[in-house]
């Protein structure tokens, strides 16, 4: 999308013009939905998070700095909406010792032909606290300090969650572990 067109839509959104809002929603629906699907448990919750994120974006669009990429701003809002959505679970996440953590991550053999849906299913089976950290760190390149700030946890907890997320994903990729989701949620 041309940046100029995007800025025009943003200006329309600032005037609370419904057509501009819808046009922006349509343009960035796919981008936002990818984030939400990665962070949510399923398609329905992803839809809820997506609309919550867009709602926050539209109602706070005056705070957007037009000198910075809009997608980055919107992406962060989507993550924050997701964090809010799963905040109750995130708050209960505990930090675990990471000594010898890497040693548990052995090389695994995976199928080259893993599709988007397969990978998404793996990520969605992670507990929210692990899933969001993994997405923020591994997919979108946030630092642990930034993640800690966004999620209201320490950088150490973020590292711990990332490690546990990788460990679980590794087991899933190996196909040797069936995730007991109910147990994971108690973390």
């Amino acid at each position: 999308m041309a940046e100029e067109e995007l800025q025009q839509l943003i200006e329309g959104c600032k005037r609370q013009d419904r057509q501009s809002q819808k046009a922006l929603y349509l343009k960035l629906y796919g981008f936002a939905m990818k984030i939400c699907l990665r962070c949510a448990n399923n398609r329905y919750e992803a839809s809820e998070v997506l609309n919550e994120g867009f709602f926050k974006a539209f109602t706070n669009i005056d705070k957007y700095d037009s000198h910075r990429p809009f997608k980055t701003w919107l992406g962060k809002i989507m993550y924050n909406a997701c964090i809010d959505y799963y905040r109750a679970n995130i708050k209960w996440a505990k930090m675990e010792a990471l000594e010898k953590a890497d040693s548990h991550l052995n090389a695994v053999v995976v199928d080259n032909e893993l599709e988007y849906e397969d990978l998404l299913a793996y990520v969605q089976r992670l507990p929210p606290a692990y899933r969001i950290v993994f997405n923020l760190y591994a997919i979108d390149g946030y630092s642990h300090d930034e993640i800690g700030q966004m999620m209201g946890i320490s950088a150490g907890t973020s590292r711990s969650n990332l490690y546990k997320a990788r460990l679980r994903l590794q087991k899933m990729l190996n196909g040797s572990h069936t995730i007991n989701y109910a147990t994971d949620m108690e973390i």
């Binding site: 629906y29 990818k34 699907l37 990665r38 539209f58 397969d118």
Partner: protein, 388 residues
């Protein structure tokens, strides 16, 4: 097939979860939900500003009313102070001027009666009837009014010889209002009267008495969202401190621990869910009260104010949904967000101890809690108070 280590796990998912194509096809119903929500938000926002304006106007009205109600007291106090200052001035002048051997009295009329009520005595504690001695300094009626304290209605008692130097003030409540009036009316005409040289303090205006009260309140309360819909009975318990500003007006604050139970429709994106809420709230109100009736042991008052809600604990349970329950601790604070309206019936068991019943209503001016609902409360607080 390929080997994957921890970095490769990241790379595998980073590449795989960012496909070129959009993973989900846009659904019109999703936009419709968002559009409705935006419309509701815009309406609520405008009504919120209207309600803020209403609260502002109400606060202004209460302020003006307070000033109007307090004004006569303030005016009276000022008049008392003016009369007192005038009196002191006269006392100083009296010390400098030559005393006249006679006292002129108006015959008949109010002033004459005032002067005839003046008591002359050797003993400050003993009142003596009759006219003033011929050796007492000359007085004018206005001077009498000035000398007599308008607030506490003190009349002058003095002996024929000694009172010139040692005036004695004896309280006489019956003259208070009239003499206050005289002091105001004749202030301009008043002239220093050289009839005594006072050495004792004549009068200190009594400040408005402030009275504190501590009360313990327990209340069943009905809590609901949006006009008390789907409400449930909760309970409040709290400790309040009240400061009596005047006989009519009081200011109160305190802390109330409230258990707020309610059901709400949680509408989010494409579907609506029912949520059972159990919130524990620390309510910190600041209220202004006005006494309508204060008769014997009974006092009836009403009041208004604003509360801050500190959400100590929030539990949300979703009905008919796989969504996980939400449990939050100390997550939300809503400062000055709830309008209080209350009436109060108080019955005094003794001068210090009273019991009271207080119907009240709490109307939020902003959204409350994690799910941002308009949580209203209607309750009846029963309590006991101790005045000090």
């Amino acid at each position: 097939m390929k080997n994957v280590n921890k970095n490769s796990i990241d790379e595998l998912f980073k590449a795989g979860l960012n496909p070129e194509r959009d993973p989900v096809i846009f659904g019109e119903h999703e936009w419709s939900e968002l559009e409705q929500r935006l419309s509701r938000y815009e309406r609520n926002k405008s009504s919120f500003f209207r309600s803020k304006s209403f609260i502002g106007i109400a606060a202004l009205f209460v302020l003006v009313l307070s000033i109007w109600m307090l004004w006569p007291v303030m005016q009276k106090t000022l008049t008392q102070q003016t009369a007192s200052q005038h009196k002191e001035q006269e006392v100083q002048d009296g010390q400098k001027q030559v005393l006249s051997p006679s006292l002129e009295l108006k015959k008949g009329g109010e002033t004459g009666r005032e002067l005839s009520s003046l008591l002359v005595s050797d003993d400050p504690g003993k009142a003596m009837p009759g006219s003033l001695g011929s050796d007492i300094g000359t007085r004018t009626p206005s001077a009498t009014s000035a000398v007599t304290d308008p607030g506490t209605a003190m009349t002058l008692a003095e002996t024929a010889e000694e009172t010139v130097h040692k005036p004695v003030l004896v309280p006489d409540p019956q003259l208070a209002d009239h003499q206050l009036h005289e002091a105001e009316m004749e202030e301009d005409q008043a002239k220093p009267v050289p009839f005594f040289a006072g050495t004792e303090p004549i009068h200190v205006p009594e400040p408005v008495r402030r009275k504190w009260a501590l009360s313990l309140l327990v209340a069943p309360a009905y809590n609901g969202v949006d006009h008390l819909n789907n409400g449930q009975i909760g309970s409040d318990i709290g400790l309040m401190v009240t400061l009596g500003l005047t006989k009519k007006w009081s200011l109160s604050t305190g802390a109330v621990y409230a258990k707020k139970l309610y059901d709400a429709d949680y509408s989010y994106a494409s579907y609506t869910q029912k949520v059972d809420a159990d919130c524990r709230v620390l309510d910190i109100p600041v209220n202004v009260g006005y006494t309508l009736l204060n008769s014997g042991k009974t006092r009836i008052s009403f009041g208004t104010g604003i509360s801050s809600y500190i959400m100590l604990r929030e539990d949300y349970r979703f009905n008919n949904s796989n969504r996980e329950d939400i449990h939050l601790v100390n997550e939300n604070q809503h400062w000055l967000s709830v309008l209080n309206l209350h009436a109060n019936y108080e019955f005094k068991l003794s001068p210090r101890i009273s019991i009271n019943a207080q119907p009240y209503m709490k109307i939020p001016v902003s959204d409350i809690g994690y799910y941002k609902v308009r949580l209203e409360s209607l309750g009846l607080a029963i309590g006991a108070g101790w005045s000090f």
